[in-house]
Amino acid sequence: MRYMARNLPAIFYVALIYGFIFLPVAVLVLFSFQETRLPIPPFNGPSFKWYEAIFSDARMMDALGNSVIVAVISSAFSAALGFLAAYSLARFRLPTPRLLQGILTAPLTVSYLIIAMGLLITFNAINMPKSLLTIGIGHVVINMPLCFAILYSQMGEHQANVERAARDLGAREWQVLVLISIPMLWPALFASFFLSVTFSWDEFIIAFMVSRFDVTLPVEIWSMLRTGLNPKTNAVGSLVFLVSFATVIVLDFIVFRKRRS
């Protein structure tokens, strides 16, 4: 009894919800194409001049470069360390699934603001100067639990059985890891890495608090926002959004194709 007519209100409702969620982002993107200086109606674009302004702004380009470096390197560490943690934990039978769930999800619920404050105190205490390195360490702290949770969820009974089969056929532990476990978990490793990249790419508060001269793009946007919203800030914002959105789409696509082939 799947009547199209009966479904119409439901379709309408889902569309409305999506409109509500994406409206702010859509407005942001729209006004980045505004011709005049003020991002208020009426819209008088489209104009690409604010995008041109960004790309000819050296500070902005530096920040973009920093963002990419921090995102890629910290994500590689997050995925690698998360994999090792998941691989270690998967060797045990934990007393209760609830404890396990707690271990996996607890770090994900700690606020970035709190982590930022904690990192700041820690770096002060050990006299570590603020730099891209400290931002990177901060991003590993927030992304590794995520990678850990994703990778652990893929290490089920079947994975354990396949590893057992490899051992049964004469493989040593390192051969099991290199020839079986890592190749089998490749899609999950890939997904963890790219998700970490998107989270690192648009993380603001940690990057702001543990950086000084070398800053990432979100921090640069923040300082621009001090002079108020204008189409240039919107253009940078849209760019940040576009990159992270594209990464998620590409990720979905590649991981999905990997699983089918």
Binding site: R164, A165, A166, L169, G170, A171, Q175, S261
Partner: protein, 360 residues
């Protein structure tokens, strides 16, 4: 006496407080197709895992070809396993899967190719060599798992409910195939299942396990027709269990004793090799051993029964009958063309040789 291929000596396995197998002693001779049969939780998979090197027993020793392997890791044992979920390597081709064990043993590449081709040929899947796992059907995966485990020429092949995931038709077909491959290669197969029909169809020897103990060991015919324990009698197919009391013991032919057992169905003479000391025993008789109509020569009559219900199962009818006088309900298997229906009254008889006396 030749060395048994596998020997379990006083094997006990505990998981925390739970005892999975208790003080098992079992020898398996070379080239046998042995089935470990029992309900889940009976200890059969635990025993297989101890032999495969995936579990270390709490106590006891495991010997393969006379060598103690109790503490040898699975990678160094002359055993390989076909897992229930096949555990194939999803990121490798079929040929890559089959070659894996050879590669780990450092077999030269050209020899590898040759052996892989032979193994794929054996399971009739040569044409799939370059395919990927997910392109295969369940039955094909099962065959690849078999080829992968056999190509390294293990002393013993362990099969952990390998047909559990297949549907009935494919299952019966794979049973025949397993049996014929085992005959051809001559490797000792140890096969775990909870399906008694599967066990009877493929085994040279069945080991019935329950609750961590071995209930019975023997050829399928012996286990089915003369079960050694009440558990075995009930687990292997359908059965009628009748309580009785020994009222007379006589020496019979060839060392057996002939017992006379008083039951609700009358006095029944039963032959028995090792008669019990107690007098309270049970008799088992299979539904297909109860006959209706005029008793044949030498059969004992069991009384007049009313048919409660009757179901058609293709090759036979299965009925429940009730003997009013003694308030006994029995299952009776009638032939395909016997038409009885609820309410019919039948005379029951049986060959006394078909009764089996059980005391444990």
């Amino acid at each position: 006496m030749t060395t048994p291929t596998v020997e379990f000596r006083n094997i006990t396995m505990k998981f925390g407080d739970k005892v999975a197998v208790q003080d098992i002693n079992l020898s398996i001779k070379s080239g046998a197709f042995v089935v470990l049969l029992g309900p889940s939780g009976g200890g059969k998979t635990t025993l297989l895992n101890i032999l495969g090197g995936f579990l270390e027993p709490t106590a006891g020793q495991v010997l393969v070809n006379g060598h103690d392997v109790t503490h040898t890791p699975s990678s160094k044992r002359p055993t390989t396993t076909v897992f229930q979920d096949y555990a194939l390597f999803p990121h490798m081709s079929i040929a890559g899967n089959v070659a894996f064990g050879l590669k780990m043993r450092g077999v030269p590449k050209s020899r590898q190719n040759q052996l892989v081709e032979q193994a794929l040929d054996m399971v009739g899947l040569t044409h799939t060599a370059s395919r990927r796992i997910h392109e295969l059907s369940g039955g094909q995966r099962q065959r690849i798992a078999l080829a992968r485990a056999l190509v390294v020429e293990p002393s013993v092949l362990l099969l952990d409910e390998p047909l559990g995931a297949l549907d009935m038709k494919l299952r019966r077909q794979m049973q025949e195939e397993l049996k014929s491959i085992q005959k051809r290669v001559g490797t000792t197969f140890i096969h775990v299942t909870h399906d008694q029909e599967e066990a009877m169809a493929i085994a040279d020897e069945i080991v019935v396990m329950n609750d961590g103990f071995i209930e019975d060991i023997g050829a399928p015919e012996r286990i089915y027709l003369e079960p050694a324990s009440l558990f075995t009698a009930n687990f292997m197919g359908e059965n009628n269990i009748i309580e009785g009391r020994i009222i007379d013991r006589k020496e019979g032919d060839s060392g057996t004793q002939c017992l006379t057992v008083n039951t609700p169905l009358g006095q029944i003479p039963v032959n028995c090799v090792t008669p019990p000391e107690v007098s309270e025993i049970v008799l088992s008789i299979r539904p297909e051993h109860l006959h209706t109509g005029e008793p044949e020569n030498g059969h004992v009559t069991l009384g007049v029964a009313t048919v409660m219900d009757s179901g058609f199962f293709g090759t036979h009818h299965q009925c429940t009958v009730h003997l009013g006088e003694t308030d006994t309900t029995l299952k009776v298997r009638l032939s395909q063309k016997d038409m009885v229906s609820a309410g019919d009254v039948v005379k029951l008889s049986a060959d006394p040789g078909d009764f089996v006396a059980l005391f444990r």
